[in-house]
């Protein structure tokens, strides 16, 4: 479970980018965060694993022993320990291009092995098997030995998901995991992410309302740093206009809001 309470963040020039965001996500939920560009979606997500510290508010996560930790005030060392169990999939994969798919998955446990052991790729046989199992889970076990830079975009994103799964996370985050993918690959990725929610809370930032409507269990919409909607993933056209702003009104009759069509809103 992750509890976000009233987090705010201002830029050095005083502009508020996050303005009192609160929500709680439990196991079994697959939450999609929607919002226009610059609304604060990605910033919110970055607060959820401590890459960004809000000025005020708290982000409480539970560790494996049931201890509750506030990511906003936690000591650096403890944060590192918590991050081992927070899987995150970034926009545009961000894998180490020169390593094989399997090695990239193994990197997911860097925080769990000693520095010395990891520098020599001293992963145990068991860890390798688990990493391969993670690749099999996303259906690319056959590409385990391939160098990542030879893979397609969809395959790379699956390696990134396998890496997050291999962390055996207590919380899964995804930052625009579909942004570089074509619609059919995007669906494949959503189908892989969705079942993870049975084991842990899953929170993703998305640009495609039709995808979140289909696969998420709940949608949170952010506008100008505030939560303006939190609830059923199926949004009405009026709600979408509220989220994405006035420009959309001109596109009201465009097919962009209907499911199954590629999005051109953003």
């Amino acid at each position: 479970m992750i509890e976000v309470t009233n987090i705010s963040k201002s830029l050095p020039d005083g502009r508020k980018v996050l303005d009192g965001i609160s929500f709680t996500v439990r196991k079994g939920e697959f939450v999609g965060i929607l919002g226009a560009s610059g609304a604060g979606k990605t910033l919110t997500l970055r607060c959820l694993n401590g890459l960004l510290r809000p000025d005020t508010g708290s982000v409480i996560v539970q560790d494996a022993d049931g201890g509750r930790w506030d990511l906003c005030t936690i000591a650096k060392k403890r944060l590192r320990q918590l991050r081992r169990r927070i899987g995150i999939v970034f926009q545009g994969y961000h894998l180490v291009q020169r390593l094989s798919a399997l090695d990239n998955v193994l990197l997911g446990r860097l925080g769990q092995v000693s520095t010395f052991r990891s520098l020599f790729y001293g992963f145990t046989e068991r860890e390798r098997e688990e990493a391969l199992a993670a690749l099999n889970k996303v259906n690319i076990g056959n590409l385990a030995g391939a160098r990542v830079n030879r893979l397609s975009g969809g395959e790379m994103q699956r390696v990134a998901i396998a890496r997050a799964i291999f962390q055996s996370p207590a919380l899964m985050l995804a930052d625009e995991p579909l942004s570089n993918l074509d619609p059919s690959n995007a669906k494949v990725i959503m189908k892989l992410i969705r079942p993870l929610a049975d084991e842990m809370p899953v929170i993703g930032v998305f640009h495609q309302p039709e995808m979140t409507a289909r696969y998420c269990t709940r949608v949170i919409a952010i506008k100008q740093g505030r939560v303006i909607y939190d609830g059923d993933p199926k949004l009405t056209n009026q709600q979408l206009v509220d989220i994405y702003g006035a420009e959309l009104e001109q596109l009201e009759n465009a097919p962009v809001l209907l499911p199954e069509k590629p999005t051109i809103i953003l």
Partner: protein, 269 residues
């Protein structure tokens, strides 16, 4: 007035003046500078006459000297090799400190200033200092090449580090990696081919430098070349020159070939 293609023709002076006037100015300047520093055309012709004899001697190398020159040639290669390897290792350390995405600004800027100073000093000047401190010999040569290498590769590698995708570093950080793990997997791993390619390039350069430094006191083939010239033993000098040329040619081809391999295959590393 009717416009045709000729209407757009510029007057000759306007057309060529922009180029010719500066060139004429520069020629005048060069002539003046030559007069001031004492470079005369007459000297060239006098010298040419004298050097034909000398050139003839250079064209007949002393074949028996080649045996003696193998050892100094190898010395030069080793000086360059050791200087490049230690230099690359140190460069990496300095580069990590000189990259804005890894080090705080004050460290980054002071390390960059230091590297800039190293680059500003020619290796020969560095060697003169080192010879004063450590005496003549290959050790001073290796040190001079190491320092020169750090000045150049330190900056190149630091620039490569600064171009790494910040999210890649973040993605390693996000799994709870330690600082050392972030540096190895997020920084060095992605730019390893560049580092090796820079090092090979620097090795090629070090070979040429080691010849020059040899003449100033680092030993090796450069010293043999210098000694033969000073002793007017032009046959031997010619042999040393041939050995030097072979050395430089081979190192250039080798490093070029390896660098190409790294770029195209990529799978080696």
């Amino acid at each position: 007035m009717t416009m045709n293609a000729n209407s757009y023709r510029l007057p000759l002076l306007r057309r060529y003046g922009r180029v010719l006037l500066p060139v004429a100015g520069l020629l005048l300047l060069a002539q003046g500078a030559a007069w001031v520093c004492g470079a005369r055309w007459g000297l060239l012709f006098n010298g040419l006459a004298g050097s034909t004899r000398f050139l003839a001697q250079l064209l007949s190398p002393e074949w028996s000297a080649f045996g003696d020159l193998v050892q100094p040639a190898l010395n030069s290669v080793f000086i360059a090799l050791v200087g490049t390897i230690t230099g690359t290792a140190f460069s990496l350390v300095f580069a990590l400190l000189a990259a804005s995405n890894l080090a705080p600004p004050w460290i980054r800027n002071s390390v960059r200033a230091l590297l800039g100073m190293e680059r500003a000093l020619p290796e020969i000047v560095i060697l003169l200092f080192l010879v004063a401190a450590f005496g003549l010999g290959p050790f001073a040569g290796v040190l001079a090449l190491t320092i020169g290498c750090v000045g150049m590769l330190g900056k190149l590698i630091a620039d490569a580090i600064e171009e790494i995708d910040p999210v890649l570093i973040e993605s390693i950080q996000a799994v709870g990696a330690t600082r050392a793990q972030i540096v190895v997997f997020g920084v060095i791993q992605p730019i390893l081919p560049s580092i090796i390619s820079f090092a090979l390039f620097r090795f090629e350069y070090s070979i040429r430098l080691s010849v020059v430094l040899g003449a100033v006191g680092a030993g090796g083939i450069g010293f043999e070349l210098y000694r033969a010239f000073v002793m007017l033993d032009y046959g031997r000098a010619a042999s040393a020159l041939v050995v030097t040329l072979i050395l430089v040619f081979l190192s250039e081809r080798l490093s070029g070939w390896l660098r190409k391999k790294i770029k195209t295959v990529g799978g080696v590393l």
